[in-house]
Symmetry: C2
Subunit: 207 residues, 2 copies
């Protein structure tokens, strides 16, 4: 085992196997115990990787979370393609909703956001993860623009933010429940605003 960082040895080598084992164990520990229950010791025990190795490479629980987020950002994501902007945004908001409410994935997703509020490393990893996801989702709006559903110059990233922000706001700011009605309202708002021309890059005065 060299002292090199994760990913510097060829895929499939021992470094990659260790990294995969640690990452899987991190996700499993987060799913079971949440952010506050994530420890290097727990991840070491579950992964079978020696805890001094985990400490050396990942530093602490926040380093484990940041690495898990970095890997998640590289994974494929099923961006909806229903044929209409309304349908695509509805399915996008529901996809985000289910990411937080799914019994298996939900605790991990919530732990990522809580970790980001408390750790600079986790925050940087979350910001990069969401930037990548929102960039992928922006294609929905670009397709809608090509179909003439929204005016030229519509700010695709802004449409996506508005379609998902109310779910994060309820979950992490006001502590209100989330459900499909909340997701559908947010999606409908983003769609109505995009169609109306209010989300072009140079916004109309709201008067």
């Amino acid at each position: 085992m060299t002292a090199a960082g994760p990913g510097t040895v060829r895929p499939g080598g021992r470094t990659a196997r260790v990294r995969d084992a640690v990452r899987e164990a991190t996700l499993a520990e987060l799913a079971e115990h949440g952010y506050r229950g994530l420890t290097v010791e727990g991840v070491a025990a579950r992964s079978g990787v020696h805890k001094t190795t985990v400490y050396r490479r990942w530093g602490n629980a926040d380093g484990l979370i940041a690495d898990a987020l970095d890997r998640a950002a590289a994974e494929p994501w099923p961006v909806p393609d229903t044929g209409t902007l309304a349908g695509d945004l509805r399915d996008l908001a529901r996809l985000v909703l289910h990411g937080f409410t799914d019994p298996a994935e939900g605790p991990v997703a919530r732990a990522f956001v809580l970790a980001a509020a408390q750790s600079g490393d986790a925050a940087r990893a979350l910001h990069a993860f969401l930037a990548r996801r929102n960039e992928q989702a922006a294609v929905l709006v670009e397709r809608a623009a090509r179909r003439g559903e929204v005016p030229p110059g519509t700010d695709a990233a802004e449409v996506v933010r508005i379609a998902v922000a109310p779910l994060y706001y309820r979950l992490f700011i006001t502590g209100e429940p989330v459900d499909e009605a909340a997701a559908d309202h947010a999606a409908a708002a983003a769609c109505a605003a995009a169609r109306s021309g209010a989300l072009t890059r140079r916004p109309e005065p709201a008067s």
Copy 2:
């Protein structure tokens, strides 16, 4: 000095003066040092209240924050009244924006949200604070309904959430910058959605 909790002695009495001094000191310490820099010792030193008193009544930094939020929730809030839903929502979103970007108030407001991510007491106080603010803001939508700007049955609380959520999403989730364009986009989205009938309590299918 009795061992009774804050607020159990008549307003203007010594208990009230101590509480006001501690609360002012809490806000000033948060403005200067942020959530991570808030300590009982710092608040005691700044307020001139003995630190054993602060510990006994407020417990810890999170208790100080929760109490400051409880007091803030009772303060008057200048809900906009421009004569149109678009103008009211725009001014509402800008009011929230300025609460986070103002050099004096911003650090305190951010500290409240960060504290809520890390402390159950602070979270409960923030949820109650925002529920109160959003309830006050809902009057904008009720006025718009009386003017016929939005359909009967429009979910006022949902309109308000959509008008402010993207600011919280940028500040606390994605780490993206906030500015008046972001506030205006969010307000315009809430307005367009409300007018279109997409935010009635029984939502239309999003097609």
